[in-house]
């Protein structure tokens, strides 16, 4: 399939629609190694944007720049049309961008509620909280339960059980629930289905759809083409440190996407 014959039935974004998150010309070099080389990205409201690319294509660096875990050498990032400069992951988080890292940023020894509120614990009202710094565990637990239920992760018996006692899929669910609970603008998921079984992987995919359907746009980084093609609205293909093109699951097939990703095929102009 060539670009000219594309009939694109996928979602179209009118020029009038502002991207929620936009990156322009991001560059990051490590010594003489160029991790990202003028990379662009647009994420529109209410969509799942998959980011795919071969190893070393700069996916991780791109995502880290968007989530504040890495400061780009040059380039601009816009959130809701306003330029932002993230120096730390907390900056991005404060701005409303929540990221679930591939390494699963959970503390295995802490319980589900503690993990959900890790880094933004809530204290008790009044002097107990302000002077004695006492955490409002009851409130955090009920809130955690509510968030988990909202995303349909109600199978967890006990919100006070240690995360390490959960299965891989359930841990991922905790991480996704945290991002959905606190992300007000964007949720970024890095390889959320890697290392999961088929059943658990599908459950996490459903979780991702749920997050989108609640109105949060999602950036999904994944190597798993069937998963990408199952949930993504648009697919950003990263190659050699830049964006090669953006396609949709309807405009291109999986093998075409892989061909563009690996350089076997010329990238078509953006079809989405």
């Amino acid at each position: 399939m060539t670009a000219e014959t594309d009939v694109d039935p996928g979602p179209r974004h009118a020029a009038s629609q502002t991207p929620v998150l936009q990156a322009k010309g991001l560059v990051k070099k490590y010594g003489r190694v160029v991790a990202i080389d003028g990379s662009d990205l647009e994420l529109y409201p209410g969509e799942i944007l998959a980011v795919i690319g071969d190893n070393g294509a700069g996916k991780s660096s791109l995502i880290k720049a968007l989530s504040g875990a890495l400061v780009p050498d040059s380039g601009e990032i816009f959130l809701d049309g306003r330029q932002v400069n993230f120096r730390t992951p907390m900056d991005a988080r404060t701005a409303g961008i929540e990221t679930v890292y591939q390494t699963l940023a959970v503390a295995p020894g802490l319980d589900i509620a503690d993990n959900l509120f890790l880094g933004r614990e809530q204290r008790k009202p009044g002097p107990l909280g302000s002077i004695f710094r006492m955490l409002d565990r009851g409130h955090m637990r009920s809130e955690a339960k509510r968030h988990m239920n909202e995303l349909g992760v109600a199978t967890l018996q006990n919100i006070g059980q240690a995360v390490e006692s959960l299965s891989g899929g359930q841990r991922q669910a905790v991480a996704v629930a945290r991002s959905a609970a606190f992300g007000s603008k964007v949720v970024i998921l890095d390889e959320p289905t890697a290392a999961l079984g088929v059943k658990e992987g599908n459950r996490v995919l459903q979780l991702i759809r749920d997050v989108r359907d609640r109105g949060l746009p999602v950036i999904l980084i994944s190597h798993n083409m069937p998963h990408v093609f199952e949930v993504a609205d648009r697919i950003h293909i990263q190659r050699l440190g830049r964006r090669a093109t953006v396609i949709t699951p309807k405009s291109h097939s999986m093998s075409e996407a892989v061909a563009i990703m690996t350089g076997a095929a010329e990238p078509p102009p953006h079809s989405a």
């Binding site: 020894g109 503690d114 199978t155 459903q206």
Partner: protein
């Protein structure tokens, strides 16, 4: 998402060993408590003098300094670190307090505050080297251990200051309230209050959660928005303060400030932490376990002594206990979900 997973079904079909593993994993305090109880029962059977109020108050007094140091050590080990300089900071702080009183002629209150400040600064130095220069805690504290002991000899001229030459506040920690035949020293009361305080701080405050998260997986904690360097620095600094308090209690216990004690305190504090079920790999454990661990050490030393076991074999027994405790920890960590 409607289908529930089977992961949480009660493990009725597991073997007894597996269930025990899970029980200990969920309640790490059970192991140390069981060891302590068994030891107490065994020693009271072997020696009629063991379970007397006089002897038990002696055990508590012997344990107080180690427990205070082990409390600071627990904070550091929870972050997957180690502090070899705990005893050195405690002894050096006690010598500094005595020097401030005797040589500088400062009132006891001021000397105490200054001594505590110096201990805190020594802890902060460890914290600085760990978080800013990014050296492994083992190497950092090995270096500062040597430095503090050396400075300790320089400042004290290797001479002991008698308690009678010191202001009353310095030796106050050794005075006691009699409860029947049981004598509860003020030092022990301070130690117990500190354990209560840090039990609260670790389990009920955000700082405590961050200490655990940092020790569990520092990178994950950082990505979750925790400033792990700050947490680590605070832990080493607070530990320094606790060691200095331990030094103060030490003056009361010995009724003197001596530069020649405390070499064994470094390792004893680590022993107490490990026996208390806190994992050397970080992120797992609790201060109450450490208190039990320190009591185990004290009860073993005292009980074996009453039983006429020579000092050299007491060390053998404690060492064996440590190895068993660490092996147990490894086994519990391998818990399958």
């Amino acid at each position: 998402m409607a289908t529930a997973t089977a992961d949480f079904e009660v493990r009725r079909n597991d073997s007894l060993g597996l269930r025990l593993q899970h029980l200990l994993h969920a309640n790490p305090i059970i192991g140390p408590l069981a060891v302590l109880l068994i030891a107490i029962i065994a020693f009271s059977i072997f020696s009629g003098r063991f379970l007397t109020a006089t002897n038990l108050s002696l055990v508590l007094q012997q344990v107080t300094v180690i427990a205070t140091l082990a409390l600071g050590q627990t904070l550091i080990i929870l972050t997957a670190g180690i502090d070899l300089s705990a005893g050195a900071i405690a002894v050096f702080s006690s010598i500094l307090m005595a020097t401030f009183c005797v040589d500088a002629g400062l009132p006891g209150f001021l000397a105490l505050l200054l001594g505590l400040a110096c201990g805190t600064a020594m802890g902060a130095l460890n914290g600085f080297l760990v978080t800013r220069i990014k050296l492994p805690p083992f190497i950092v504290t090995l270096g500062t251990l040597t430095i503090f002991f050396s400075l300790n000899s320089v400042v004290s001229n290797s001479e002991t200051v008698r308690g009678s030459d010191l202001p009353g506040l310095m030796t106050w920690t050794g005075q006691s309230i009699p409860i029947g035949n049981f004598r509860l020293t003020y030092g022990s009361i301070i130690m117990l209050l500190l354990f209560g305080f840090f039990f609260y701080a670790l389990s009920r405050t955000a700082w405590g959660k961050h200490v655990y998260a940092t020790g569990d997986d520092a990178e994950a904690a950082r990505l979750a928005g925790i400033r792990t360097s700050r947490v680590l620095f605070s832990v080493y600094t607070v530990a320094g303060l606790l060691y200095a308090v331990g030094g103060w209690i030490l003056i009361g216990r010995l009724a003197s400030a001596s530069p020649n004690v405390g070499v064994e305190y470094n390792l004893d504090s680590i022993t107490a932490v490990v026996l208390g079920g806190t994992s050397l790999f970080g992120g797992r454990g609790a201060v109450l376990g450490t208190l039990v661990g320190a009591l185990i050490v004290g009860v073993f030393r005292n009980g074996l002594q009453l039983g006429g076991v020579e000092v050299v074999w007491q060390g053998f027994a404690i060492g064996l206990l440590v190895l068993v405790a660490v092996s147990l920890d490894q086994w519990i960590r391998k818990v399958k979900t």
